[in-house]
């Protein structure tokens, strides 16, 4: 039987999937999506049982649970003890006392930059992103939640507390960023822009951009500025209607295993911190990911904003407006 997985692009790396496929003699069918909204829409358009596992923003796990999509995970069969405690995200992954998601990978939406082209000291403040000094040298990662989160940090708000009342100030901040920006791009476009010198700074960048490119371009780096950074964290969840729950569990176990974690962390689409502290990473890889600095980073990081449906739509419209701004 095949395993049908609704995933982010890092999971489509053959280097990650093939060992699992070979070991279990199955085929993993993957479908990529971008945001949680899109992912849930795909599920809605499918027949029950079409999907087995899903990758989802940790903070959005409750949205899936609300729709009755997910199956609780057997904690005893998964290496919960080995996870970085800060990224277990029990506030989101545990609903009604049951655990529906397990964090597999995390990182920061912060400032990515080319240290040979900018003053690293400037990168300690979010204010630099809107300063004239870097006009036209900036790219913005095209995903509204983390970048809105960064805008919130820049105006001194907590990402968890955002309400509709904050939108005008956030919009102001976003428009200022846009005025400085050369482009607003998805994963590859923004990575490419930074790597090829199209821009020197990526708003929303982080290890997920710079780590994978470190070999090619060691000048790429990221910082956690004094205002803090936005923590991204992705979880795995299993579908209640899955016809292959055993296999689904095996898959989650594989991803959470030290080998699986190492492969996921360094997958071709983007790198990121493994949630499992025991991930079988080489020293070089750990260094690139700044494995050892994590405790300090995590302390200053805030989670993704988690708007309700109404605010979410408003945020997206605000984002559209930012894109259209000249």
């Amino acid at each position: 039987a095949d395993l049908n997985a609704l995933i982010w692009c890092d999971h489509s790396d053959p280097a990650l999937l093939q060992p699992f496929e070979e070991a279990n003699n199955v085929k993993v069918n993957v479908k990529e999506f971008e945001g949680t909204g899109a992912g849930l829409a795909i599920v809605e358009q499918s027949q029950p049982g079409d999907w087995d596992v899903m990758v989802i923003d940790s903070i959005d796990v409750p949205r899936g649970v609300e729709k009755g999509l997910f199956e609780p995970l057997p904690e005893d069969k998964l290496p919960f003890a080995d996870l970085f405690p800060q990224v277990k995200m029990d506030g989101s992954t545990v609903v009604g006392g049951k655990r529906y998601g397990i964090t597999e990978k995390f990182g920061y939406n912060t400032i990515g930059f080319n240290k040979t082209k900018v003053d690293p000291a400037d990168m300690q403040s979010l204010a630099s992103l809107t300063s004239d000094k870097y006009k036209g040298k900036v790219a913005i990662y095209d995903y509204y939640l983390p970048v809105i989160g960064m805008a919130a940090l820049a105006i001194g708000k907590k990402t968890a507390d955002l309400t509709e009342a904050d939108l005008p100030a956030l919009k102001d901040e976003l428009l200022k960023m846009k005025a400085n920006a050369k482009l607003v791009g998805e994963v590859t476009a923004s990575q490419t822009a930074l790597a090829t010198g199209e821009v020197d700074i990526l708003v929303g960048g982080g290890e997920w951009v710079t780590a994978g490119l470190a070999k090619e371009n060691p000048a790429l780096d990221f910082s956690i500025p004094k205002e803090g950074a936005v923590l991204w964290s992705q979880s795995l969840a299993m579908f209640k209607a899955s016809k292959n729950k055993d296999l689904a569990l095996k898959f989650i176990q594989y991803i959470m295993s030290p080998e699986g974690q190492a492969r996921l962390a360094t997958s071709s689409c983007y790198w990121g911190m493994p949630a499992n502290t025991k991930a079988a990473l080489t020293d070089d890889q750990k260094k690139v990911l700044r494995f050892d600095e994590q405790p300090g980073f995590l302390a200053r990081a805030q989670a993704y904003p988690a708007p309700n449906a109404d605010l979410d739509k408003k945020m997206q419209d605000m984002w559209t407006e930012m894109l259209q701004a000249k």
Binding site: P14, Q191, C269
Partner: protein, 260 residues
């Protein structure tokens, strides 16, 4: 004066050729790049990205999918187009002008809209996304094309040829098989070939209507979004090479046809 026109023409033509070939040359050149960024300086030549492409199962199966969808949907489009063109050209049907307009209408609609419509319809009807769904979409865009090409070639001369066959005792299906199809073969072939080309290259409908088994353009799009590297150049160059071989074959067979 004539000389001047000649010189200016040459320069202009060269400039346009340059414009047309610039991205292709760059594409192929940097597919041979040894490092991960397909931008200058050139670090190749190396075949590692070709290697990577050929060992990527998703890409190769997408290639097979694309060929399947393109050939089957084109065959369907050309069959439907041919039959209807024949019907409209040979018989007086009430409201013929309007019905012909209806068949050609999708030609005037953007692919995105056709894809969106099918997506909404299939959602509503509970039809799952699949290559088949994308293939249906491709028939929608190619049917009017095949119809228009074949219909425009069905002149009165062909009408008399068919009448002659009937007159000599051929039943309708023999007229179709022995006369109309062979006589219309060039137009049928042209319709099929164009459909293949369009289907082969179509992105948005396949993107909206497939799930994991998808077509090459969608897979290339996915590849693009998983990081900039010369693998994309390598796929592109391979596709280009295969297409050129097909086009040259097409030309040769067509030319031979014309000569005999």
């Amino acid at each position: 004066m004539r000389q001047l026109v000649r010189v200016v023409s040459w320069l202009y033509a060269l400039a346009v050729y340059g414009f047309i070939f610039l991205p292709v040359v760059v594409l192929v050149l940097f597919s041979l790049q040894a490092t991960s960024f397909p931008i200058p300086p050139f670090t190749g030549p190396s075949l590692r990205w070709y290697d990577a492409v050929l060992s990527d199962v998703r890409l190769t199966s997408a290639l097979v999918n694309s060929l399947l969808v393109a050939s089957i949907s084109s065959a369907a489009a050309v069959t439907l187009g041919f039959l209807s063109a024949w019907g409209f050209a040979r018989f007086v049907l009430p409201g013929s002008g309007l019905l012909r307009g209806l068949i050609t209408l999708p030609l005037t609609v953007s692919y995105l809209i056709i894809g969106m419509g099918l997506l909404v319809l299939f959602n509503w009807a509970g039809v799952p996304k699949s290559l088949l769904a994308a293939g249906i979409g491709h028939v929608v865009i190619n049917l009017p094309l095949c119809f228009a090409i074949i219909y425009s070639q069905m002149g009165d001369h062909q009408i008399n040829i068919e009448r002659a066959a009937r007159d000599l005792g051929a039943p309708e299906w023999k007229v179709l098989l022995l006369i109309t199809v062979p006589v219309m073969a060039p137009a049928i072939f042209a319709g099929f070939f164009l459909s293949m080309t369009f289907s082969w290259d179509e992105f948005v409908i396949s993107f909206l209507l497939t799930r994991f088994d998808t077509t090459l353009p969608v897979e290339i799009w996915n590849l693009l979004r998983s990081g900039l590297n010369p693998k994309t150049n390598a796929v592109g160059s391979l596709v280009f090479a295969v297409s050129i071989v097909l086009v040259v074959l097409f030309e040769l067979t067509l030319l031979r046809r014309r000569k005999t």
